[in-house]
Amino acid sequence: MSTPHLDHVTQRVIGSAFQTICEEMGHTMIRTANSSLFVEGRDFSCAIVDSKAELIAAANYDPSHLSAMALTVEFVVLFFGPDNIFPGDVYLVNDPYRGGGHLPDITLIRPIFASSRLLGYAVNRAHHLDIGGMAVAGFPGTARSVFQEGLRIPPVRWFHKGEENRDIIEFITLNVRFPRDQWGDFQAQLASTQTAERRLLRLAGRYGAEAIDAAMTDVKNHAEQLTRLMIRDLPDGRYGFTEFVDDDGVTDQPRRIEVTITVAGDRMEVDFTGTSPQAEGPVNSSYGNTLSSTFNAILQLLGPDVPFNNGCFRPIEVVVPRGCLLNPAPPAPCFGGVTEVSIRVVDAIMGALAPIASNRIGAGSYGTCINFSGGGYDAERRASYGFYFFIEGGWGACAWRDGWNCTPNPTSNFNDYPVEWIESTLPLRYREVRLHTDSGGPGEWRGGVGTIRTVQLLADSVEINSLGERFVIPPFGLAGGDPGACNALMLRNGSAGEWQTIRQALHTASPSKFNGLHSGRDTWFRMMSGGGGGYGDPLVRPAARVVDDVVQGFVSREAAQADYGVIIVTNPDHSIGYDAEGTEAQRARMRNEPRDRQLARARAVERATAATAGQTLSEEARQTIETTEDRISTTAARLREKLGSESADALGAALRTPFTNARAVKFWDIDSIDRWLQRHADHDVPSEME
């Protein structure tokens, strides 16, 4: 029955198994992890990467890990050299300048061999509750360098040829604040990669390693073809959009994200030239994170039926100049790159493409995690504790439906922590979890509404941090729809105190980003997530649908009148209805009036545009980048001379040296390059490559 070439059906069978294996990795992780961050927060991803370090399949709960995972594998292979990867190895790495996103995201990589043949790699990347540094449970909103953000780990071998190097975990867990739980989490990550190994080997045992290779090639081709079909569906042309980061935490100055997208047939170029220089505060996005975010946006257009893997990436060229906010030079801090700037990148690309892809995507979304974190000592439970809240909100409306309410932003997907669970384990008392009524941008299709969560501290001397976004510039509406509401973080003292913004109460530079503030018992915090932008003219939204919005608590009676011109009444049977005549008159009056929400957004954008006009790169960063580029080009030239350009560019060479790898040359930093040169004593390189 065995056939020399892989038949169509068998190819389909093996292809779907890759996805299943990744899901099973995730299942193992959820069932065994300690931290609620993994279990409820789903802040991890599982992937299979092939022997060429290309993504084959992923069960992603966190899209910010998307393409960065394969980039991390590629870094590991380049760094150690492809001949130094052995069965029984497990690599561990977290550095944002080495394929990572931000420091708490720790990646485990297990090469999988069928006898001596490398089948691929199992990858598990997960956000640990703490990674040391200046903020309990992470998110130092005012960090000025990556060193303040926590422990940097280059690729290290936790296991080598099956032997555990326990020193690695001892070393790491001494440098984090919740070693016992995190120890369990490392075990869960490890178990997840073992699951992948067992399942991939079973598959290989059944169909043979060659069939696995062929099926890997086919799933990539499949994804590529579907991606090209989608791009071909878009009209050719150049499309631009400008998004802003509110501020960088250290100062109140905004940053600009400029994107120009060129669609040509079935190819696309996404160019971030014009983006602000890297920031002083933690709103820089590592190169890998920028790639992930870019593909995240593209996948929003593609939808869930396209298997996502390296094939999706092939038709898309991404240009990110070194030294800009989206490809920074170390030691620029990157903590908020993963949770915040990634969403701004998605928004920028969606903003550029929404007008030509209104059948696939829609208006801007609330777009933040807020990342309210902290901890201290809990005298009642006699233990130190940490917490990390990330929050859902309203998504943009689109041409065929209202925006989703209370849904995690595109760069994540999580369950919330049950109130009863939070109160049982932390010295916090939830005071309310309710809809942020009227936060959705009015439109013919309404933007989704956000959530209001109020929490009271029950312990003394609680340290708190935050790293949020979209507190200043609201998400855009489309086709005449209004913007959604901004996010906000407020506090008050006691149940009778006045609600104040963090800036008012604690005199921070930023309303959304701060670090290490101390608060006491009975301080109340209120996290208010905003809503999505609306789509189309709110005055043509059918009145019955506005009535239903009131019935469901999404729109207040007052806003039904002020935003939609619908006069809400109580029917004789005590249900909610509307006054048809009054509504018509009100709508007629409103038709020529300016729309306040749109004006407010325009003013905020204008201010940000002016503030970002003259931003320049720091001298230190400029010189570092110069040195890096110089080192790369001279070494690459030397290699080419020795080898002849043909062999240097061959595929095998791409995984041999960073200088012959098209991606590595775009982001490897000077430190990685120098270490590589020391490690691979560069006179050895040519012989190794022959």
Binding site: H8, N34, S35, A191, Q300, G303, N405, S424, R434, T451
Partner: protein, 680 residues
């Protein structure tokens, strides 16, 4: 007295299955279902010719409640929650169904904002009252309910699973002021931690109450007026049965009763045939439903989703479905790659070969084209099949674009459908540390026998079994099911320092509930087998594993140590490691079962395909580039011990059993077809 009758009320037909306990004679009947779910039962009894007064047992299984839930055809209910938290029903657990893409609709909340009422008052995480209940708020809410004509209210307050006093105060107040409003408390329905899951479950229970009341009272009345002496018993989601009186009181337990009948059949078979490890595969028109039985016990789940992120917590047999049934549509995607399902042609228009206007080839069409289904005997020959039309549709939409002969494409479709089912079986076994090689598959429903061979091959299961009457096996299940009640209560504590009085107190509470339910069903506690389980996890984890506790009650330290050891072993089996960490108790569970004994002479086949001599035919199979000469034989002609080598097709009125090349079938002692890999 003589007849034991099982009825399975489906959307279209009501199936009846009866056994005469005097001689083992079996009666099968079918009637059209009626909207009230009961009319079809009476019609089927009449058609069957069974004298109503001779019906000793009547077991009722129905998808009516499951369907009402799925289609949201429920009575409107109001919701009372802790002030500040009533929007939980809209906010839910947040996450979206797909990571990417905007083509998704977030389901509507179970209760609209204007029928959700917040009541002031708080219980804290240790069960202490920190703010008194505001009864005046209850009165205001009740007034609004009256104005709106709402007759049922679900009450779910924070931490009520630890301290139900506030909920009970609410109930008492409403009883006092408005006795006509039915009150459903979360502390009664589902006293477990996680406020959203508990609230959602409570609302579903409240919404089902009027429907269950209507169906049950109608069933009782109609049976009695037609002279049936048996008091009806109802199949529950846990694979057990209960009296119609209990079913009314606890409608939630029927939420997933649809597929439970098949599981009950499989459980009975596992015990009687001495095959303790079974995987039951029920393949119908739109889905394949899979459940796993290990050591004679069905694998359970405590939570299911009504819709995306709308959970329901109750003890249910873990039955999982995939959209790969006879009506599943085969198609090529935009890049020309083959896929099967999840779209289904359903019963209308149905497969192309039905000739009812279906144009997209389905799994059934593929089976016709490959020769796996014989058009002359399809559905007992009652339906005329247009094989040419099926072949043409399959050729133009699938085979030609793939450059394959229609028959090979058809085999590809069948194989792809089978591997999707096999993946589901893997997910339910391998993923939780079970080895399919230790299991026997049992295939039933119209399509089960068709795929069984392929599934034995794909999953590497020990063997496959097609029972007698595979097409109506689900109806048959309830007849032999036990009376089973399940209970759970959250109880958060460290196992190592657990207060035994607390544990035994919770166990006594659960036992009391069991006593009440069993007595409604007509049994005493002495007749029941009580099994306590603990949901444990390593401290810090968020997922538990349910393990039986050692001897008791009352339980001592040694019982806890046994439970802990079992937990470690289960964790090791499922996740390849165990830990020395402290262990945490989350929930105490009790299952109270009364084993019913039904002494019946060996069943005799009822109907058979007549006048069908054994023959050879040319049939296509996946992996072969030509048709193979295949034995075609009527099941009724195969005596016990007969051996048929694959490739073969064993035909009976409503099912075709495929024996793939390399496999062989024998007829077992109970008349079952046993499929195994042929000895080399």
């Amino acid at each position: 007295m003589a007849y034991h009758v099982g009825v399975d009320v489906g959307g279209t037909f009501t199936d009846l299955f009866a056994i005469d306990d005097r001689d083992g004679r079996i009666v099968l009947e079918k009637a059209d279902s009626t909207p009230d779910a009961v009319g079809g039962v009476i019609a089927a009894i009449r058609l069957s010719g069974i004298p109503p007064q001779e019906i000793e047992t009547l077991i009722f299984g129905s998808t009516a409640i499951t369907n009402a839930l799925v289609e949201r055809k429920l009575s409107p209910v109001a919701f009372l929650g802790t002030d500040g938290f009533t929007d939980t029903l809209e906010i839910r657990r947040l996450w979206r169904e797909h990571l990417f893409g905007w083509k998704w609709d977030r389901p509507r909340s179970l209760v609209d904002h204007d029928l959700r009422f917040g009541i002031k008052g708080r219980i804290d995480w240790q069960g202490r009252e920190i703010e008194p209940l505001d009864l005046a708020g209850v009165d205001v809410a009740v007034e609004r309910m009256r104005q709106r004509g709402i007759g049922v209210v679900a009450v779910s307050l924070l931490f009520s699973f630890l301290n139900p006093t506030h909920e009970q105060q609410v109930r008492d107040r409403i009883r006092e002021t408005s006795p006509d409003i039915q009150v459903v408390l979360s502390s009664t329905v589902n006293p477990e931690i996680k406020e959203y899951e508990r609230a959602s479950t409570t609302v579903i229970a409240a919404a089902l109450a009027p429907l269950a009341e209507k169906i049950m009272s109608n069933l009782e009345a109609q049976l009695s007026s037609h002279g049936v002496p048996a008091r009806p018993q109802i199949i529950k989601s846990n694979g057990g049965i209960t009296s119609s009186v209990s079913a009314r009181a606890k409608p939630l337990e029927m939420a997933r009763s649809g597929p439970a009948g098949g599981v009950a059949s499989a459980l009975r078979f596992a015990r009687e045939a001495g095959v303790p490890n079974l995987i039951a595969i029920d393949i119908g028109g739109t889905t394949a439903d899979v459940s796993v039985i290990t050591g004679g016990e069905a694998n359970f789940t405590q939570q299911a989703s009504l819709e995306w992120d709308i959970p329901l917590r109750t003890a249910m047999v873990d039955v999982r479905s995939i959209g790969a049934g006879g009506g599943s549509i085969a198609s090529l995607d935009a890049t020309g790659r083959l896929k099967v399902g999840p779209q289904s042609a359903g019963a209308n228009p149905g497969p192309v070969c039905y000739g009812r206007g279906g144009t997209q080839p389905t799994v059934t069409d593929a089976a016709i084209v490959a020769g796996h289904l014989d058009p002359r005997h399809f559905l007992g020959g009652r339906m005329s099949i247009d094989a040419d039309k099926a072949r043409e549709a399959l050729r133009t939409t699938i085979a030609d674009p793939l450059g394959l002969p229609a028959e090979r494409a058809a085999c590809g479709i069948l194989h792809l459908a089978a591997t999707r089912m096999a993946q589901l079986i893997d997910e339910m076994t391998v993923q939780v540390g079970l080895d399919p090689r230790d299991y026997t598959l049992v295939g039933f429903g119209g399509g089960g026998p068709l795929f069984l061979s392929a599934l034995v091959t794909e999953t590497e299961a020990a063997a496959g079994i097609v029972p007698l009457y595979p097409a109506v096996w689900s109806a048959f299940g309830g007849l032999f099911a036990d009376v089973v009640h399940d209970y759970a209560k959250s109880c958060l504590a460290k196992v190592e320092s657990l207060d035994l009085d607390l544990l035994n107190g919770v166990c006594a509470e659960l036992s009391d509930l069991a006593v009440a339910d069993l007595s409604r069903d007509g049994y005493g506690l002495a007749e029941a087998e009580l099994r306590f389980k603990l949901d444990l996890r390593y401290e810090g984890q968020s997922h538990e594993i349910s393990v039986p506790i050692g001897a008791g009650p009352p339980f001592g330290r040694d019982s806890l140590a046994t439970a802990r050891a079992r937990f470690d072993a289960a964790h090791l089996q499922m996740f390849s490691h165990q830990r020395n960490d402290p262990c945490q108790l989350v929930t105490v569970r009790l299952s109270a079962a009364v084993r019913r004994k039904l002494e019946i002479p060996a069943a005799r086949p009822a109907a058979a395909v007549q006048d069908m001599p054994m023959a050879e035919s040319q049939v296509w199979f996946h992996g072969y580039d030509r048709a193979l000469s295949t034995t075609i034989v009527a099941r009724s002609q195969l005596g016990r011990g007969s051996l048929i080598r694959g490739p073969a097709i064993i035909i009976e009125p409503q099912a075709h059993c495929i024996v793939l090349p390399g496999l062989e079938a024998t007829i077992g002692g109970a008349g079952e077809i046993l499929i195994r890999r042929a000895a080399a």
